[in-house]
């Protein structure tokens, strides 16, 4: 799949073999606005920085419109950084939502089969009890 800029500002041409798609995209702060076929997708502009929706109090949000495939934890479970908590599916790909730090699952706000939108809160985490090992302990970032 190749992407090239089109002649108009913000226009992108996406080619997949002979298949061609006209897309319009702009970046505004930490959001990419992408138009294709009558639908606007709001996506994270920078995948290395936390999204606006990932709050310091420990909520993890959907990064884009996606379907919830599997929930691997239950409320009350202790989780470690990197554990897969929820599996989403978007763009025909599975997308694991991992714990951003050690903690405990406070609440789960989605069910398998749910269609979730960007900024939809999927799960709340509380920070690990008592001991703090000086690392980036805040859940959710």
């Amino acid at each position: 799949m190749t992407v090239t800029r089109g002649p108009a500002p913000g226009e992108l041409i996406v080619r997949d073999g002979d298949q061609v798609a006209q897309v319009f995209a702009v970046r505004a702060g930490d959001t990419l606005w992408i138009f294709h076929d009558g639908i606007v997708h709001e996506m994270a502009a920078d995948t290395s920085a936390p999204r606006r929706g990932a709050h310091a109090q420990g909520s993890l949000t959907a990064p884009m419109p996606a379907t919830v495939i599997e929930i691997k934890v239950a409320a009350g479970d202790a989780v470690q950084r990197g554990d897969i908590l929820i599996v989403l599916e978007a763009m025909k790909m599975e997308l694991p939502v991992r714990a951003p730090g050690d903690g405990r699952v406070k609440a789960i706000h989605c069910r398998p089969g749910d269609l979730v939108q960007p900024e939809t809160v999927l799960i709340d985490l509380s920070p690990p009890e008592a001991r703090d090992d000086a690392g980036p302990g805040r859940a959710g970032g």
Partner: protein, 502 residues
């Protein structure tokens, strides 16, 4: 009394629509603007532009004195109010008359009579048109409104006595929900029209909204230009309108048209107006009830223009100049089908919450049978102070389904970025099997909301475009977020990088 210079007491797409008609007719135009609109399209399109106040509408577009002063100062000889704002306020028509300005609309007395729901209903009853049970209680306290609702019988609608457009409208199924609805409806009515008087009526369930466009001149001529069906509404405001209505038979159309003309004639009405009906049932057996009259041009007037081949704004100006209507009833025919989709800056997923902000990208579609009436442009802000309608996309075709297909295709090629809009939602409405089968009523959006809000997962092309954009932005962004602190915060998106690009 020719018009040589006309002040447009409005903003946005309707101001541009009126300015275009004036330009075609050789009439100079004067735009007015608030501080939020100093650079707006309607200002640049006019021959003259006058500032009338700060951004809030109540301090600018709703000030009769400021409008009349601007007209006099700019040497205008006429004022067109458009729709909304002061268009249904007799005070503006009166002030224009007092200042020797032609008001492009009905006489102040007709606005007062038909604009007040009581006067309009009384006239309709005299003309033999059925009305929905309802009243404006003399006692406007919460208790007075509640007593009126009890007399009429639940469910009820309460709404602004002074205006239309669904502003200040609330439904209530019982006394408890009514008690909550009254203060909110009153506040909205006050904010929108400067008048918090409330009207209470019986709620007719699952009706269609079908309205008749009428037109009358100073020479005793009155005609109707058929119907518009406006059943697709959200928050009691129309978002999709079409003509003809699939629910009308020729006999019913003739009955409704004749009733509307009779009412306009008996009211001494002049210029363009619309009689709104609720329709229960379909075909010759259907019942229609007078809802209200809009004593102005409607937002959805283009669908009538497209099926009748007329220019309603031009006709308004001709009639305002004291000339006869350009058509007799027998000249008017409906041909083909037209459908209008209102594109709003709003978030359907959050209860159609209005949105404001910069239009970072805005590209209007075109093509056979596509007309776009808009007042916005790429790079401009959608201000928070006004109605968030961005554009009207009107499609016409030989048949209803062709018009729907044209509208759907055009919306699918209407990119608007930076502000959330209802474009995808409109596409879902147009594609809905019940809509295509013309099985609609004013609760259509609420009934089908879940399926109308469905959004498919983004296709791979969108992911590839996103990845492309991220790489383009990397050069600047990397320098800031580098180091362990940024890397330690894991984002699930980081796992999504494989697009199989070459």
């Amino acid at each position: 009394m020719d018009i040589t210079r006309l002040l447009v007491a409005n903003r946005g797409e309707i101001a541009l629509r009126i300015i275009r008609a004036c330009r075609e007719m050789g009439i100079e135009t004067v735009a007015v603007y608030s501080d939020a609109d100093a650079q707006a399209r309607h200002v640049r399109a006019a021959d003259y532009a006058v500032r009338i106040g700060p951004a809030p509408a109540s301090e600018s577009y709703l000030k009769v004195g400021a409008i009349v002063d601007a007209a006099r100062g700019a040497g205008a000889d006429a004022v067109h109010p458009g729709y909304g704002f002061l268009s249904e306020r007799a005070a503006l028509a009166e002030a224009c008359a007092a200042a020797g300005l032609v008001f492009v609309g009905p006489p102040a007395a007709a606005i007062e009579r038909m604009g007040s729901k009581i006067g309009a209903r009384a006239l309709m009853e005299q003309a033999g048109v059925p009305v929905v049970p309802g009243q404006t209680p003399a006692d406007q306290t919460d208790g007075g409104i509640a007593a009126a609702a009890a007399r009429i019988g639940f469910p009820v609608l309460i709404k602004a006595s002074a205006g239309g457009g669904g502003k200040g409208m609330r439904s209530a199924r019982d006394a408890r929900t009514l008690a909550e609805a009254i203060p909110a409806a009153r506040r909205e009515a006050e904010a929108a029209f400067g008048d918090g008087t409330l009207y209470v009526e019986r709620l007719i369930e699952r009706p269609r909204h079908v309205e008749i466009q009428i037109f009358a001149d100073d020479h005793g001529h009155a005609v109707h230009l058929f119907e518009r069906e406006c059943s697709i509404q959200r928050r009691h405001q129309k978002i999709v309108e079409e003509s003809p209505s699939p629910a009308l038979t020729p006999a019913l159309r003739a009955r409704m048209g004749a009733a509307a003309v009779a009412a306009a004639t008996s009211a001494g009405y002049r210029n363009a107006g619309t009689i709104e009906f609720l329709l229960e049932g379909e075909g010759d057996a259907a019942h229609f009830y007078f809802l209200e009259m809009n004593t102005r041009l409607q937002v959805e007037h283009p669908v009538t223009e497209l099926v009748t081949g007329t220019d309603l704004v031009r006709a308004q100006l001709i009639v305002a100049m004291g000339r006869p209507l350009p058509w007799r009833q027998e000249d008017l025919v409906q041909r083909g089908h037209a459908i209008e989709c209102r594109v709003y800056a709003e978030d359907p997923a959050q209860g159609f919450l209005p949105q404001a902000g910069p239009l970072r990208l805005y590209r209007e579609p075109g093509g056979p049978g596509i007309r776009i009436d808009s007042g916005v442009e790429e790079g401009a802000d959608v201000p928070v102070q006004y109605d968030p309608m961005l554009a009207k996309l009107i499609a016409s075709g030989e048949t209803r389904l062709q018009a729907i297909d044209r509208a759907t295709a055009a919306l699918r090629g209407f990119p608007i970025l930076g502000v959330r809009t209802n474009v995808a939602f409109l596409v879902q409405v147009l594609r809905h099997p019940a809509f295509r089968a013309a099985e609609v009523h004013t609760g259509f959006v609420d009934e089908h909301l879940a399926s109308l809000l469905e959004t498919p997962a983004p296709p791979e092309a969108v992911g590839a475009a996103a990845d492309f954009m991220r790489r383009q932005g990397d050069a600047g962004a990397r320098a800031i977020g580098s180091g362990a602190a940024a890397a330690a915060v894991h984002d699930p998106w980081a796992d999504l990088t494989n697009w199989g690009r070459d």
